[in-house]
């Protein structure tokens, strides 16, 4: 590949097109998937930071019983923390940022199937986020229902639930359109010669995720609409006095929200599948199994929603079925873990930051997944439901999983997006702080939960004090780690060494074009003749 050592002079896709007078108009009106992806990325990271600060304050408040934030305030804090991190950061997350920037390039095409709808998705995301944040600032209290908006409280509370719920509705529509766009793109626009099984793993996961986005999100949309109609028109589908049933809300809500967690984690797994082969110089072990397992997780993930409701009064038969299927969905996830580890085996390992974060993903997601099995089992769930054990579990899979994957992707694709290299030393120092802080912060939650500390409680009896202090101190290390990582990345945008087209020796299509990415992806559409990650073939 002749471009391997070429240092580019141009500003790539950042260069002004001259079509609009103001820079902001040029970007907001752009239909270029790379620009849309970068804008999304900036927004996501900003909202993530807000969410982290909220979490930080929550932990601070829990340092000692009865100080800092009071009862009402605490409910609002954890609601906002959840809503922002989940609906504004992690669900849009990887698909809208890295998916947008890299999907067309990875499959060898110039843009997504519907660039204008892509732009609409971005505008809807901004609008939805604005509505959600508005619920904090307009007259009345911020939502205090938890991010799960359980009825009947969400229908009755005087807090600004309606506007928050409207915002999530709009965000959902943005998500549906993105999924639709990506699935159509993957079906219709792969480069010549790129059959389904010559497509890299990341597009495969975006495909599976796209289907989940399309089919699960509408259920959330209608559920939230019912909350809205209940608040404004007194429609009482979840109100027992009007013949309704609050458990129906739980069913409908989790019918979306469980598949939603696969929206969060499948693309994250796709990124790990991209990084591990490059940094072990080996073909992805069991490539076909990796692709099929992505579909398997997406499909089976539709059938497990009841495991969020084991204590809500379901029949024993229903609970056994949901528990069984929950255990089943762990199998394809396990397949991926085994395949990544097998890829590393006997590879030529370079422990650069992307791999460090990817390895952390494997470790942390495994812990999260295994603890998921503990709470997926009925007997243990009865004791652990609604405790800190759950909080620990989902932070391990969401933050340790998808969150670390995002940070890995930021480092892996940093040269491609910015045209510069980040500072490896500070990346590693940041990683160490983050990793150590993360485990102190969240592992202690497993212990607290096991001891019976309930979640979403602003206060607690003295026997939980030690656990909470340890956890909060973990959050301080974690915060320092995040600051170092992001300061490093931001500084490197301006001061980093200029990056070549292929600093890591990757084999997928994005490394064949210049860094930073050019305005037009490919001068000539490539013709694909082999499977991805062909390290062994080249070594022969």
């Amino acid at each position: 590949m002749t471009l391997r050592n070429e240092i580019p002079e141009v500003a790539g896709f950042y260069e002004r097109t001259g079509r609009y007078r103001w820079l902001i108009a040029e970007w907001m009106m752009s239909t270029d998937h790379k620009r849309i992806g970068v804008m999304y990325l900036m927004a996501l990271l900003s909202f993530f930071s807000v969410g982290v600060v909220l979490g930080f304050i929550i932990r601070l408040s829990l340092l000692s019983p009865g100080w800092l934030v009071g009862q009402q305030g605490y409910n609002e804090f954890f609601t906002l923390h959840g809503v922002i991190q989940i609906f504004l950061f992690i669900i849009p997350g990887i698909p809208v940022a890295f998916g947008n920037i890299f999907l067309p390039i990875l499959i060898g095409t110039q843009d997504v199937a519907f660039p204008k709808i892509n732009r609409l998705s971005w505008w809807l995301y901004v609008a939805g986020a604005a509505l959600v944040l508005l619920s904090i600032f307009i007259k009345g209290r911020p939502p205090d229902t938890g991010w799960t908006f359980y009825a009947p409280y969400s229908v009755q509370t005087p807090a600004n639930v309606s506007i928050a719920v409207m915002g999530v509705f709009v965000l959902g529509f943005s998500s549906i359109l993105t999924g639709l766009n990506f699935v159509t793109t993957i079906h219709r626009m792969r480069a010549p010669g790129m059959g389904w099984f010559r497509m890299p793993a990341f597009p495969w996961t975006l495909y599976a995720t796209g289907w989940v986005q399309m089919l699960a999100t509408p259920v959330l949309a209608i559920t939230l609409l019912f909350i809205f109609l209940g608040r404004f028109f007194g429609v009482g589908f979840f109100d027992p006095t009007k013949g309704g049933d609050p458990i129906l809300y739980e069913h409908l809500f989790w019918m979306y929200s469980h598949p939603a967690v696969y929206i969060m984690v499948l693309p994250a797994m796709g990124i790990i599948s991209e990084i591990v082969p490059v940094f072990s110089r080996r073909s992805l072990f069991g490539y076909t199994a990796i692709c099929m397992s992505a579909l398997g997780i997406a499909i089976v993930g539709y059938a497990v929603w009841g495991h969020h409701m084991f204590t809500s009064g379901m029949s024993d038969t229903a609970r056994v079925v949901f528990s069984f299927v929950t255990f089943l969905v762990a199998v394809p996830s396990g397949v991926k873990i085994f395949n990544w580890v097998s890829t590393l085996y006997k590879g030529s390992i370079a422990v650069d930051a992307p791999l460090l974060f990817a390895l952390s993903f494997i470790f942390l997601f495994s812990i999260g997944g295994l603890t998921g099995l503990i709470i997926g089992a009925l007997a243990t769930n009865l004791h652990l439901h609604g405790t800190y054990f759950i909080v620990g579990h989902f932070h391990y899979v969401m933050f340790g999983g998808a969150g670390f994957s995002i940070i890995a992707a930021l480092h892996f694709w940093f040269p491609k997006i910015t045209g510069r290299m980040y500072n490896e030393k500070f990346a590693k120092i940041g990683w160490l702080n983050l990793f150590v802080g993360f485990n102190i912060l969240y592992f202690s939650m497993f212990v607290l939960g096991f001891q019976g500390m309930p979640r979403r409680y602003f206060d607690y009896p003295p026997q939980y004090h030690t656990g909470h202090v340890i956890s909060t101190m973990g959050s301080w290390f974690l915060a320092i780690g995040l600051i170092i990582i992001f300061a490093n990345l931001v500084r490197s945008i301006f001061k980093g060494e200029k990056a070549p087209a292929n600093p890591w020796g990757g084999k997928t299509l994005e490394w064949t074009i210049p860094s930073p990415l050019p305005r037009e992806n490919f001068q000539e559409i490539p013709i694909i003749t082999r499977r991805p990650y062909s390290y062994e073939e080249e070594a022969k």
Partner: protein, 187 residues
């Protein structure tokens, strides 16, 4: 392809409501049976015929467009729009009749009824309301297609937009085909 995917999402969207309907009806079968007697079966049947015919006309409008017959296509699209509007007008009369009887969400009259009946009418308003909103959107979109047809940006060679609109309209029709028996015929 994209339009088909969008329609799948719409199926899930309406599906949530049909799910609620089936659960509530299972619990309150007698009440649903009694409440459905309040519906005007004549108006409901007229609306069904209207929508089915309008699906026919829009399909024909695509067929004529493929043959390059611009005027026929325009007439057929216009017919579809008019029938869509007719549907909405009839719906308006149905709703106002009920509201005048005091039957609307959270009304004292409604809340005095039995629980199953409260749910039935709640579902009636939400489901036919959302469906009606989709009919209205469809009418607007077909009007745009009419405009494009007149300007010939939809023509014999490029009619994908019209086809997609037709797909959407067929979907709206199919949802009504399910709503009609569930609200009008179960008595």
């Amino acid at each position: 392809m994209g339009m088909w995917f969008f329609l799948f999402t719409e199926i899930l969207f309406f599906g949530g409501m049909f799910l609620l309907y089936s659960i509530f009806r299972y619990n309150y079968a007698q009440d649903f049976h009694a409440a459905a007697a309040e519906e005007n079966i004549i108006l409901g049947t007229i609306n069904t015929v209207v929508l089915l015919t309008s699906s026919f006309t829009i399909a024909l409008s695509i067929a004529t467009m493929k043959r390059g017959e611009k005027i026929s296509s325009i007439i057929l699209q216009l017919a579809t729009i008019l029938m869509g509007v007719a549907f909405l007008v009839i719906k308006y009369f149905e709703w106002t009749a009920k509201i005048n009887l005091g039957i609307y969400p959270d009304s004292p009259v409604l809340l005095a009824l039995s629980q199953g009946e409260i749910l039935f009418f709640g579902l009636y308003y939400v489901m036919t309301g959302l469906h009606g909103l989709h009919v209205l959107i469809g009418v607007v979109v077909i009007s745009f297609m009419l405009y494009f047809t007149r300007r010939e940006t939809i023509n014999r060679k490029e009619y994908a937009r019209l086809e997609n609109t037709g797909l959407y309209w067929h979907f709206v029709d199919i949802v009504w085909i399910y709503l009609y028996p569930l609200f009008y015929l179960i008595t």
